[in-house]
Amino acid sequence: MGVWDEFLRGITRDNPIFGLVLGLCPTLAVTTTLENAIGMSAATAFVLICSNVLISTFRKQIPAVVRIPIFIMTIATFVTIISMVMEAYFPSMFAALGVFLSLIVVNCVIMGRAEAYASRNNTLYSFIDALGISAGFLVALGVMGSIRELLGTGEIVTFGYQLISVPIDPVDYMIFPPGAFLTIGVLMMFVNHYKAKKLERGE
């Protein structure tokens, strides 16, 4: 399989949210705005790429019996690094993401990729896989964040730039927790529909 196909697989078929249904907690919690969604995806991408590369490089040296604790410690180290960097350079983003930045350590996507992919494949492919999955995560969070911010506030403002503004009555509930459940429910519905259609065509 080509490198490009491996990358695309992370966005489409193995999309962490809509394909694998992993890592739902941050997806719902931090997608109140597009900006938070991008920040969360960036932090997760950093941890995922670093841990995948490190684990795949040392996959022959890691004893199989204690691999899970080793994976957890590796991931926790990178999470500590990224949360310290964010606290120092992006304090407002750090405050907005709150406890969820630390909770990247128990994000099932990262543990899942370490166990299912990085411990079995070489460094290059693990790197590409991490890139693809991160891109898929960004797409999912970005879509969620855009929908919620647009319907909840009537505009999307990202890093000081107003991207889009529509003259609607903002619905507060979209920013609150119920909006998150509603948005992901509707998105999942479309994904299911698409998958069923694809199955019918026999692909």
Binding site: V21, L22, L24, C25, P26, L28, A29, P69, I72, M73, A76, T77, V79, T80, S83, M84, G98, V99, S102, L103, V105, V106, N107, C108, M111, Y173, F176, P177, P178, A180, F181, L182, I184, G185, V186, M188, M189, F190, N192, H193, A196
Partner: protein, 197 residues
Amino acid sequence: MAEESILSVLMQGVFVQNLILIQFLGLCPFIGVTKDTKSSAGMSLAVIFVVTMASVATYLIYTFLLDPMGLQFLRIISFIVVIASLVQLVEFVLRKMSPAIYRSLGIYLPLITTNCAVLGSVLLNIRAGYDFAQSVTFGLAAGIGFTIVLLIMAGLRERSSFVHVHSSVKGVPHAFFFATLLSMAFVNYFEVIPLGG
């Protein structure tokens, strides 16, 4: 925050800051095990147990070890290790003391290590600056809140499994639509329950 009464902390943990519906912690079991009431009851019991124990252990470690030595940045690593070993310990003790409970909790205990509900609620404890009694109460309350929502959800999903819905809504989207309605109720609890009293 520190002078909050125990009752207020309890109400906060169970309703106002409900783990699943407000904080979005522990969504994997919320979607994963709520297909029937029995397994959600098992999962909830295990979570109540581990969250309460973990709030005791992490409070002690943070206040007497990490904080005085200026090692706060090690909290993520040390807490995850504490939770993982706590789960192991609980497993050993239960297997020895009460095989019946062990059999019913069996498969759910290892899953809890990577359940963000546990790590999330102990980190929230530290952020809120609770003292020992408040931390333990909040841990217990978080577990109870988790149980209530899990059981409501399991009941709803069991009942609705015979309802005819469009094939694309069946399963996970259906569960999320229930969660939307439940969450609408919980999001308004902060108006009913006075805080800080």
